[in-house]
Symmetry: D2
Subunit: 428 residues, 4 copies
């Protein structure tokens, strides 16, 4: 390749203004391994973003990589629409054996277009067809994608504004703890559901994330989730857990809702489900709600066989026993300690999130952005989230070695300290 990577004029010249992450992380990356990315000039960055939770097993995991190369070498199927392939069979069998069966989950797998938004669109269709209702209840600060159906369920005003048309069929309700002073937000939802004149049309589904990744790492309590699950059942609505960002181990277990005592009717997955960063979308649906007819929801890439290969190996490698869960737990504690150090520097700052999906709310987007920018200068890729970008969010690969995790946290803490000191934002 003859590309001169110090000349990056090609990007502003020919790539759309819609590009975003490249603005904050303004270099050209050429390779990546584990929890590190390397730029064109050899600089190495610790990656605490991990493709927004799409690389939970790190970059180019050697076992997934080997299996993928083997598959390509022998001319394995790359694209087969939704035809039967050996790789698909093997993935489903592994998923059944390692994931579904041990959790007593009867769900069927629907391979949608290879994005989280597409999985969400499919889930919304399923719920509407299965119930014969239209209205879907989504929650404040939820993020479910930006195609028109999913976008209606997404709370972010900037993305909603991009629609250019009306976003219908969704009613918004307050997420757990949305009103710190006002107690249980499910009481309001329950009142609305029971009141025949509330103006809340009978819901086809509730859709929610157990931890809101883009919304600012708001983590729902098990109690709230259980009340929500009960209200869904009572009102004849399906419960859709959008596990696109929080799933695949991010919060400590394979699914984010494990050990919570709820049994979602539909689960949407994408991001890390392929394990290698390859595009893949997946909807898990209880058999009684598996109502889409053949190709009723379709799409050219709904069987990404490369992704099936790596997804299978990822499950075999990481989810056959509980060692990975133990690792995640230990690493989450390590990150938590580091974040607490930052929280202690900033007045009113506090930790948010759950498992390895955690961050620190520093109160304002400018401060959080400055910290992340300085961290990047010092070799750490890390991002903000939240309605005002006020949360420094850690989404490190779950496989990050403890020493790398510590090194990354040290950079972040150092950057935070520098910014806080420079800006004289001191806790009294």
């Amino acid at each position: 390749m003859s590309t001169n990577l110090s000349d990056i004029s090609i990007f502003p010249r020919r790539e759309s203004e819609a590009r975003s992450y490249c603005r904050g992380f303004d270099t050209v990356f050429v390779s990546a391994k584990g929890s590190e990315m390397t730029s064109h000039d050899g600089t190495r960055y610790i990656d605490f973003l991990a493709g927004c939770s799409s690389l939970n097993y790190g970059h180019n995991d050697p076992d997934l990589k080997a299996a993928l190369i083997d598959h390509i070498q022998v001319d394995g199927i790359a694209h087969g629409l939704d035809m039967h392939t050996d790789t698909k069979a093997a993935f489903i069998e592994t998923f059944e054996k390692q994931i579904l069966a041990p959790r007593d989950m009867p769900h069927k797998l629907m391979f949608t277009g290879p994005t989280g938004a597409n999985a969400v669109e499919a889930a919304m269709k399923i719920a509407r067809k299965s119930t014969g209702r239209t209205n879907i209840i989504a929650f404040t600060n939820g993020f479910h994608g930006v195609t028109q159906g999913a976008l209606a369920a997404t709370g972010n005003g900037y993305h909603r504004g991009g629609a250019g048309t009306s976003l219908n069929g969704v009613t918004r309700m307050p997420y757990d703890d949305y009103l710190a002073d006002n107690g249980d937000t499910t009481a309001y939802l329950e009142a609305m559901l029971e009141d025949q004149s509330s103006g809340l049309d009978a819901p086809a589904a509730f859709i929610l994330e157990t931890v809101q990744g883009e919304g600012g790492l708001n983590a729902a309590s098990p109690e709230w989730l259980n009340r929500i699950a009960d209200l869904a059942k009572k009102s004849g609505a399906l419960l859709i857990i959008d596990d696109v960002q929080a799933g695949c181990g991010r919060t400590g277990k394979f699914f984010s809702f494990e050990d919570m005592g709820i049994s979602p009717d539909i689960i949407t997955m994408a991001k890390s489900v392929s394990g290698f960063g390859l595009p893949m979308g997946l909807v898990l649906v209880k058999p009684e709600h598996d109502v889409m007819g053949p190709a009723e929801h379709n799409g050219t890439f709904r069987g990404n066989n490369h992704a099936f290969v790596t997804a299978r190996v990822a499950i075999e490698k990481f989810w056959a026993d509980d060692r990975f869960e133990q690792d995640i737990k230990r690493r989450a504690e390590l990150v938590t300690q580091g974040l607490q150090t930052i929280a202690d520097m900033v007045p009113n700052a506090y930790l948010k999130g759950r498992g390895m999906m955690i961050g620190v709310d520093v109160g304002c987007g400018e401060l959080a952005g400055d910290i992340c920018a300085l961290a990047f200068e010092r070799g750490l890729i890390v991002e903000t989230s939240g309605p005002r970008d006020e949360v420094v969010k850690i989404l490190a690969p779950l496989t990050t070695p403890d020493e790398t995790l510590s090194a990354g946290m040290d950079i972040l803490i150092g950057a935070a300290r520098h910014i806080v000191n420079t800006q004289k934002i001191a806790a009294e």
Copy 2:
């Protein structure tokens, strides 16, 4: 892999009822090369479906494959959100040099979620934001995907019915030649646009395929396309050509609208753009309409770097000179002759489509389906399209060697003859 592929009970047991192609092509595929797919028992099938035009360069092209393996071997970036990478730079540079510059196209590239539907959703947003209007004009028998925004533009009633909610913001108009007796359908559109009381709200865009792949291989004439382009301009609407299925050489040139004298404001691409069957979505947009803000339309997989690698090599290999175009032309003639043989067997049958996106309308879906089913038994993968599935559609890889193309056509002709003879459907 220990999977016993003669036991395919895993699919009905655990895969959603939404699965479709696997029902018609009921075997398990394990590898594929060029224009052939091989099933688990070693049977080889000639592939005249090519992932619905996603494999225009055939399965596992050796050059693309080698480049992809090299990339993976050296831990090239697999997933990098929309950050700058060397592979992305190289793809854009190649695309600029080989595709855009020679055609004097000023368009910028927007990498959307890796599906055609996602590219269409982005295109619709761009048009709405750029014009400040909502209404988008789509055409009878158009197919643009099944996420909610794109689905509003899709004509197919089965897919529309799957929405479970209202599909708004799109007005339907008759495609070229929709009314054989009634002449130019643009006269009606023009009258509607000029009449302030027609009820047609001012359009943000016209969206259309130059050849309607799912709609039955209806091919618009250059004259019609020019009138449409004129009407779009005159009414202040953007012209969106959805080249997801018809692009990448399928109709003879890289873009389906080349040599037609039109200059679309927005072009949507997916399917064969990666060249290897890997998920990739791409919107080409004129700079003056590049109005999406950073991440305003976003998505986790909007930079599939594996796809960038193969997409670049595909362009270098096939589009550096006009040899590939010559091949396509010759092969299209070969297929046309074969299809004509079939058309001659069936009363009122006729050929449809353009380039290597052609088929024969045999008048009814049952007959077309029977022909395809028998062809599959005899080793050919081929599908129907059209509102009543009445068109036998050939979407062979554009790289199919002439002898393989002939062999495939022989199977198809033989199957058609057998069905016609058995069912006594003779042309008088």
Copy 3:
């Protein structure tokens, strides 16, 4: 009343800018009788507008007036919600005996809010509930009111633009003769209905006016209406005739669709149904489609008892035998002759409409407007219609004495001649 009527500053000071007719007819009216209105300074105007067909029996018809005064004198019910009253019973009985029974119409009467738009909204709801479908087919240049549901069916762009939100649930189709060169517009509709991929969702109803009052006096042919009625039946859609403006004798018979061979499932009425200009809305619906539950469509004024009184007397007076029909026919001929005189003055001008709902298309709105303005100066109230206000429209009371009709036409012809001569618009 102390109002000084030469001081009309109260209107711009305190009445909304939405006021309209008062701008063209810029005086203050104080009384009206038959076909004449009198302004505050004693000037008498011949009224060829008749409240846009709300005063088909003229102003303050003496018999209706006497009955109304009697009713009020004895403290008859003015407002009774939708309770049973003697006046309502008497109206329904008269309507059954004089209107429905002789025409073998099984329809039931639904009293909606007292506007045409409200009747249309009710009709659309009925059709949607009865069929379980959402989509309603309306036609180019149709006008059905400006509340949100009705407005979706209205073609006028100015009114549609006033919605400020998306207008959904309606598909537009070309009215009779919409494309002079392209023959039968029902062929297009039929093709769309039969094509499963046309993008036309299964319709709940077709709604149309047999003569489009606001749309420019387009009169559908009986043949076209019959084909439309057949297509509605074939596609499972209800046929709604919006007779708000064309009904109550305006086109020669009580209903505008009489003698056309069609049997609408739903008929909407308002304007002249009360006979006295009092607000009243009425939906006639076949018993099998009388599916609205108690108050499911409701409204405070759905039983205007003053209107019941005058509506009953109007039917008894004018529709007990065929004398009134004969009068209308003769008067329509008289008006037609006058309009033809105008048409002969203006190149390419031609007559439009049917019965006493006729006008002359003079080709441009400015010319038509100038004619009407000068006519008003000379003592005639007359208005334009059509997408570009290009039609001088006569909606004289059906009771206008022949001599008054002639006098009015003379004013109009004189005004037209003056304008044409002044502006040197001469037919070659």
Copy 4:
């Protein structure tokens, strides 16, 4: 009139099943005066329903009646579209002088179609056009009419279900005191408005009733109204007070929001604004928001001149000084005492509402219905309201003489006592 009123078979035979009040009050009324209605057999009923607050000045008030008869006698204009008439000028002048000027209200009058729903549709359009936004915030249990735009803002599920299509463009928020335990519901609204990711699109308007008539006589506190008004202002939304049912003295003052310290941008009126039960709709809009163009929102009956006559006299008679307000206050106390007597009979029953728009919540719809049914047998017309029809609602004419009011309350108390005793619903 020859109608035999003991034969009421005409109603089920020819009137739609949508009829409602006539089912509960199953007789035929022939006349009415003041607060009494008389049925065909001479039975007199005290009317505590008053046309759902459309007859605040009672039936056939002698002064209004005389003025109306005079107007008709001299051939005053009955219907004049929206042309200037002397009666319209006189009404506006009186309204300006007696209502607007003393209250320092700069509002302009927009005469809409003669229903409350039509006024609401106009108000929503104005707000959307004035702000360039689409979303309108409505409240739980609000009732604003059943045409499609207004229905989107109405909470009642039965009426919403009648739409048969999606109801868009409105977001629902909790009304004052909606969650007894959760304190101030405006805190939730404020949080939603300030949070850029809440999913609440920027509002064009807030629309609300200060006392929810159909919603169960929920009365907002002045504090809540002020917070709402502040939030509207802060968020750039217009404040629309829907005073259709609560206006015209019903709550004690001419407007329901007087003395509350708020200044609505738009006020919708209908019901009692004509004073005689005649159909009339009226929107009051601040000049800076008077943005509808000529006829942009139009309608045939937007100038009901009979209504202008009675409306003017009503204002002159009742609102020239504060005597009427004193009467209302005294009568409200009288009714309150009676309702308290009923509340004391039923466990957990409590009073609701404000002014002469008050009732008793007896906890269940069946009990409330039984009480009203028995009251009707005993000569009192009274109705229920609320989501479960659990509130016995008094809407007596504001002019009801104290002795009639007492007589009516005695019937109601007696009926309640009988039902409670019979059903053994005793307060422990």
